[in-house]
Amino acid sequence: MLALILLFPLLGFLINGIWYAFFQSDEKAKKASAQVTGAIATGAIFCSFLVSLFLFIKLQSLEPAVRYFDQIIFSWIKLEGFNLNFSLRFDPLSSLFCMVITGVGSLIHLYSIGYMSDDKTPGKYFAYLNLFCFAMLVLVTSTNLPGIFLGWEGVGLCSYLLIGYWYDDIEKAKAGKKAFIVNRVGDLGFLLGMFFIFSVFSTFEISVIQTAISEKSALSLFSTVELTSITIICLLLFVGCIGKSAQIPLYVWLPDAMAGPTPVSALIHAATMVTGGVYLISRLNFLYVLSPVAMEVVAWVGGLTALFAATIAIAQTDIKKVLAYSTVSQLGYMFLACGVGAFGAGVFHVITHAFFKALLFLGAGSVIHGLHHEQDAFKMGGLKLKMPQTYLVFGAAFLAICGIPPFSGFFSKDEVLWKTFSSPNGSNILWVLGMLTAVMTAFYMTRLFSLTFLGEHRANAAKAHESPKVMIYPLYVLAFLSVIGGFIGVPHFNWLEHWLSPVISTAGFEAVVPHSYEWLLMALSVLGASVGIFLGFKTYKNFSGIDPIEKHASGLFKTLTNKWYVDEIYEFLIIKPLLAASKFCWKIIDVALIDWVVLGFGRASFWVGQSVRPIQTGSVQFYLFMMLIGLLITLGYIYVAVV
């Protein structure tokens, strides 16, 4: 039963993939329509969603201690004294992720049918989309680290394929390459962490590691060496998470990932891929809680990323770039939550973020579709009248991400901020970081919203048209979820925390400040969001083509537009030296040294051949004469030797 969740997307991938590869890839072949291929892909992922839902309901009836389904698919690696199965586990944590991936994934697939209707190769597109979901499902259901790594690499591959989907455009192909290479840096950390785990625990199975640790921690038998190695493991795995979940310093690939089709951005940012890092840390929370150092690092990286990305988002004009930096910023929140020990709050934010960010991206996609691939928010404006439905749902997502109650974003963001403030691992500075980010988030989202939908029509915005129904309906579903999604984690009636309790223990992270503060903080975060929104509306009310911030602080604005010049710094510090080193290896070591030696052998034998060539006269008589002399010498030698 459990395997079906994975099987459906895989099947969809195979059908569309084989169909495309063998019957449509030819230049002259008739291409399947987006409707047919899209229906197959959407159907596949939706079936997977139904299975997840069914298993999720079945899970409710089990006792908390045994609340999981296990299934061994096949024996993967079998060696003397080492056995690795490809096995799956469906427990409270993975059930939530499965439902988000397949649920939001289905809506994105459905939406893609409309968005990709005039694409040339929809078969390929939908095959990749299914494979993407499959890889992500492998990531969240595997019981052991190699299985997770398989999914981890799978989403990396699919992101590369989909970001560079329109590879005719060299910039887009480069963006795909960048995503892949930057992810590779993180993957190295993951891989090393995995090996380290094996060397310490001699197993890859997460449940076995957990048992080993819980037995020990009951007796507090950890030696300093063991604690150090656990810290190293956690930090190495976190490097993997930094890469996959786009945190400082490896976040640079995510904004560039906007080169892909917009539904792909929605899929990467909301349902799959970037949440992988949060999942991994939540899954291994029992390891992380043993290492205060690693927790501290996670929290700080998360908090700083949240603030840093929010500042960049303020000055971007591309509607998708703003959303991309907001994703990086929101992911920072999730890691902040994980870092202060509130893994449940991190997962909560993953879920609500999946709803409203998918909605934001798909709404932006609808705008881009309606404006014939115009992405510059400065060239929009006044779309409220032209695209009333998109306006409505985008508004819901906008309020959700700003954190206005009772929209979903409010609950999860508030939970994160409260835990940051109250947890023994948290601190006031981290809370201030989070709070500043919240204000900025409200500000830049208001800016985007105002520039896009309000005010006067600019450029060609007057010619915009509303998107087809197949694109609008998924938006309504997501809007509904964005509005009510937060109620799974209402403070004091926190269903989510309770549900996750078999996997994520909250012991040791109880609030150290009085609960009365919670209401105060809640009021503060609403106030912060309101201030941000107010400022945003005030600043961009009479927008006239030049950003007001640019008018008043052009230097700062320029720095922010250029993303703090991080790409340029990387170019200078890493890419240039790397290219120079590669060029040295190529020109000096390879061409000048190795090639010289290898070609030298060739040249030497050629020279020897040339110099002994004259003795081959081609005259039969000469050969005969030589034969005779040889014969005589041989005979003479025998004569001398014998007699």
Binding site: Q616, T617, G618, S619, V620, Q621, F625, L628
Partner: protein, 101 residues
């Protein structure tokens, strides 16, 4: 009439050397073939002589073999010469060096 064996052996040795000399110095293929015949027959003579001296018929048997092989060899050799002449219009070994370059 009785002939001294050493006379016969010397004679055959001389014939053999004449053949060998011709083989090395002459350029006409027909002559080269004739020289080979000469050498073969010199060997035959030696065989027969030793057969008589040693009173052993094996030597004479070898002679028959050589005569047969020599006949076959001259048939093939002359065939080759004809083929060569057809392609090269020459039977001079100076001109038969196609494999040199």
């Amino acid at each position: 009439m009785y002939v001294e064996p050493w006379l016969v052996l010397s004679f055959s040795a001389i014939i053999f050397l004449i053949g060998l000399f011709g083989l090395v110095v002459r350029r006409n293929i027909l002559v080269i073939l004739m020289c080979i015949e000469l050498m073969l027959n010199a060997v035959n003579l030696t065989f027969v002589t030793y057969s008589t001296i040693l009173q052993d018929l094996t030597g004479q048997m070898a002679v028959f073999f050589i005569i047969t092989v020599a006949a076959a060899e001259s048939a093939v050799g002359l065939g080759l010469v004809i083929a060569l002449f057809r392609t090269l219009r020459s039977v001079d070994t100076k001109n038969i060096s196609l494999l040199r370059e």
